[in-house]
Symmetry: C2
Subunit: 345 residues, 2 copies
DNA sequence: AGATCATGCGTGACCGCACACGCAGATAAA
DNA sequence: TTTATCTGCGTGTGCGGTCACGCATGATCT
C-alpha cells in the first residue's frame, strides 16, 4: 500500500506537490506534474480512505427522491431501510442523506419535491431518484446541473446521463409469475388484476406474464382494472363482483404490492385456497396473507438491497472516485409460506 | 460525535488517562476511572473506527477452516467469494485471513489442518470454522484457548462457546423442497437420492423432506444411497440401474450440491423432463442443468453471504468490540430456470 | 535597479486515536 | 533524612491524508 510520502520521495517533491497534482489544485509545473503522475500510475496509488475521511471536513449530502413510505402498502419503507443501513455504515465517512418524498399519484406533489431539491442543490453531492413518474422525472433530471450525479432506483428512464440504475427486470418477473401460475395450475381461467393507478413497471410485469402464459393454450387469460383511489368499500364491492362473475376462476395475478387487498376480498368471499394468488413485494399485509396461504407466491426484488446499493453507488463515485456499474439488476426472489420467515430483502 | 478530547476535558484529565481507562491499560486511580467511565456512558462515546484503524499498527488475522474449494462440486468456492468480498472491504481496517482447507471426506486431512492452525495460534485473532466433520470439530474447538473467538459457518455444533453461527435451516429447506415437489407433482413415486458420504446437514434436509411429504398420501417415497467416492463410471452405472428399476418414477430429491450428477444420468437415459428433479446449491454444473430444464428447482442458501457475514462477525467482535448475533439464519432461495440468471448468493 | 507580481513549491497544523515515554508526588526502604 | 520504588497522570509522536499559508524564485513593470 503506497502513501503520498513515498510518491513524494520518489518524485523528489513534497507531499504538498503530490497532493496538488492529484487534486488539480494550486499551481504545478508541467514537468513535475508528469513526473508525479507517472509514479502514481506505476505503483498504482490508491489513497487511504480512512485517512482521507478523517481529515476531510466536508460532509457529503445525498438527496433521496422517492414516494412517501406509506404508499403502495408501505412498500417504500423497504428501500428506505436499505438506505438507512448504508447510511449507518457510511456516516463515519461523512455521508448523510436528505429525504424528499412525494405522492406518486400526484404530479403536483412530485413537482413540489423537485423544487425543494432544486432550491437546495448547492448542498447536494448526489441524488437517488425513483423515477416512478417517468415523464416528469425525465424533465427534472434534464434540468439538473451536469455537476450533480444521480442514480435511478426501482424504475428506469432510458437515455439519460445517470450514474447507474439499480432495479429489477419487471418483464422477466412477469414471466416468472406466469411460470409459477402454471406450476400450481394445469389449466383454467386466470385473470390479471391491475390496481389503478398503474405505472410503467406494472405494465411491464403484465406484459411478461401475458407473453409467457399465452404460449400455453390450456389457459384463458383476461385482464381487469380496479381503481384503488376510490374508497376501500367500493374497491371491495368491485372486486367482489369480479369474483362472483367468475365462479370458474382459478388464478389471479396482481402485478403490484397491493396483492393483500385482493387476498382480503378472497377471504371474505370464501374463495381463499381455491384461487391461486400470485403477487409482489413483502410488505407486512402481504406477509400475513402469504403465511395463511391465501397468497401462494410473492415475488420480491430485494427492495432493501436496491436502497443500499444506490447510496453505495454514489459513495463510490463521489467519495472514492471509483467507477460504478451502469446497471445493476437485483435478484428475483420467490417467496412462499415456507421460506418467507427467513427472507432478508 | 464525541471524541477522546471532549471526554478528557469534561473529566479534567488528559486524553492519555481516558485512553488508559478505556483500554484497561496502565495505572489509573479508582476515582478518575469512575469519573471517566461515567462521562463515557453519559455521552455514549463510540470511538472513531477510522482514526483507530489508522493509528493501529496491528494486523488482525482471521483463520478460515473450510473444505477445499473444489469439493462438493466447487461448493466451497461460493462462501470463499463472500469471504474475499469482506476482506476487500476490510483490508484498510487491517484485516487479513489465512486459509486452512481440508478434504471433508478425510479425517486425517482435517486433523492436519487443525494442527496447522494450532501451530500458528498466536498469530490468529479469530477463526471461521465450517464444522462439517462434527465430532472432530467439536474436539478441535474444545482445545482452542479461551482467548480466541470463532464463528461457525454452514453447519452447527451444539453447546459450544462459539461467537456466532451463520448458516441455514436445513430441516426447513427440506420441507420447502417437498412443497415444491408437490407443486410440480400431484401424486406418484418419488425417491430421495443421497449421494454418499453424507453429513449432518444432508440428513436434516432429508428429514424435513420426509416429514412434509409423508403427510400427503398421494406419494410413495423411498430412499436410495449412491456412493460417489467410487469412479464416475460406477456412479453412473448404479444410478442408471435405479432409474431402470423405477420406470414409474416421477420425482427425485437430491439433498446436496451433487444434483448435477443425477441430472447427467437423467439426460443420458432420456428421462430428463419426465422426472422432476430438485436439488441444492448454485454451483456451475447445477446452473447448467437448471437452465436446460433437467433440474426443476435448486434451493440455495446464500453461500457467499454466509462467508461474508462470518468475517464481519469476527470484525465486529474483535475490532469494534460490538456485540454480534449469536445465530444468523440466511434466507432460503428458490432458484428456477427463470430467475437463476439474476441470482446473487 | 528596485518594486511588483505571478509561479512553483515546501511546511506545518489539523482529523481522532494508540501508545511510548517520562515526570511529579507519595510511599517504602536504607 | 536520603535514596529507591511505585503510582497516577500529562505530553508528544505517528498513522495517511487535506489544505492554508507563505517563502523563494524569475518575469514584468516603471
Amino acid at each position: 500500500m503506497a502513501t503520498l510520502i513515498e510518491i513524494a520521495r520518489k518524485a523528489n517533491v513534497s507531499v504538498g506537490t503530490v497532493d496538488r497534482v492529484l487534486h488539480n489544485r494550486g499551481r504545478v509545473s508541467k514537468d513535475t506534474r508528469q513526473k508525479v503522475l507517472k509514479i502514481v500510475n506505476e505503483i498504482g496509488y490508491r489513497p487511504n480512505i480512512l485517512a482521507r475521511s478523517l481529515s476531510l471536513k466536508k460532509t457529503f449530502m445525498f438527496g433521496v427522491l422517492i414516494p412517501v413510505p406509506d404508499q403502495d402498502g408501505q412498500y417504500w419503507e423497504l428501500p428506505m431501510s436499505g438506505i438507512r443501513k448504508a447510511l449507518d455504515e457510511l456516516k463515519l465517512y461523512n455521508v448523510a442523506v436528505s429525504l424528499f418524498t412525494y405522492d406518486k399519484y400526484s404530479a403536483f406533489s412530485f413537482h413540489e419535491a423537485c423544487q425543494n431539491i432544486e432550491s437546495s442543490l448547492e448542498d447536494l453531492d448526489g441524488l437517488v431518484i425513483a423515477p416512478v413518474l417517468s415523464k416528469a422525472s425525465e424533465l427534472f433530471v434534464s434540468r439538473l446541473p451536469e455537476s450533480i450525479p444521480y442514480v435511478f432506483i426501482d424504475s428506469y428512464i432510458p437515455d439519460s446521463r445517470c450514474l447507474s440504475y439499480i432495479g429489477q427486470d419487471s418483464f422477466q418477473s412477469g414471466v416468472l409469475a406466469a411460470k409459477l401460475m402454471q406450476m400450481k395450475l394445469q389449466e383454467g381461467k386466470v385473470i390479471i388484476m391491475r390496481i389503478l393507478p398503474i405505472d410503467y413497471h406494472i405494465d411491464d410485469r403484465v406484459r411478461g406474464f401475458q407473453f409467457c402464459i399465452q404460449q400455453n393454450n390450456h389457459f384463458t387469460v383476461s385482464m381487469v382494472d380496479v381503481d384503488r383511489e376510490i374508497s376501500p368499500e367500493i374497491f371491495n364491492e368491485v372486486s367482489e363482483k369480479i369474483l362472483q362473475e367468475n365462479t370458474d376462476l382459478l388464478g389471479i395475478f396482481v402485478p403490484s404490492a397491493c396483492t393483500h387487498q385482493v387476498a382480503e376480498t378472497l377471504v371474505q368471499n370464501d374463495r381463499s385456497g381455491s384461487v391461486v394468488l400470485i403477487g409482489y413485494d413483502l410488505v407486512e399485509e402481504n406477509r400475513k396473507y402469504l403465511k395463511t396461504g391465501t397468497i401462494d407466491f410473492l415475488i420480491s426484488q430485494r427492495p432493501a438491497l436496491q436502497g443500499y446499493q444506490s447510496i453505495y453507488s454514489l459513495y463510490r463515485h463521489v467519495i472514492l472516485n471509483e467507477s460504478v456499474d451502469q446497471k445493476v439488476v437485483v435478484p428475483m426472489d420467490i417467496l412462499t409460506q415456507d421460506n418467507v420467515d427467513y427472507y432478508q430483502g
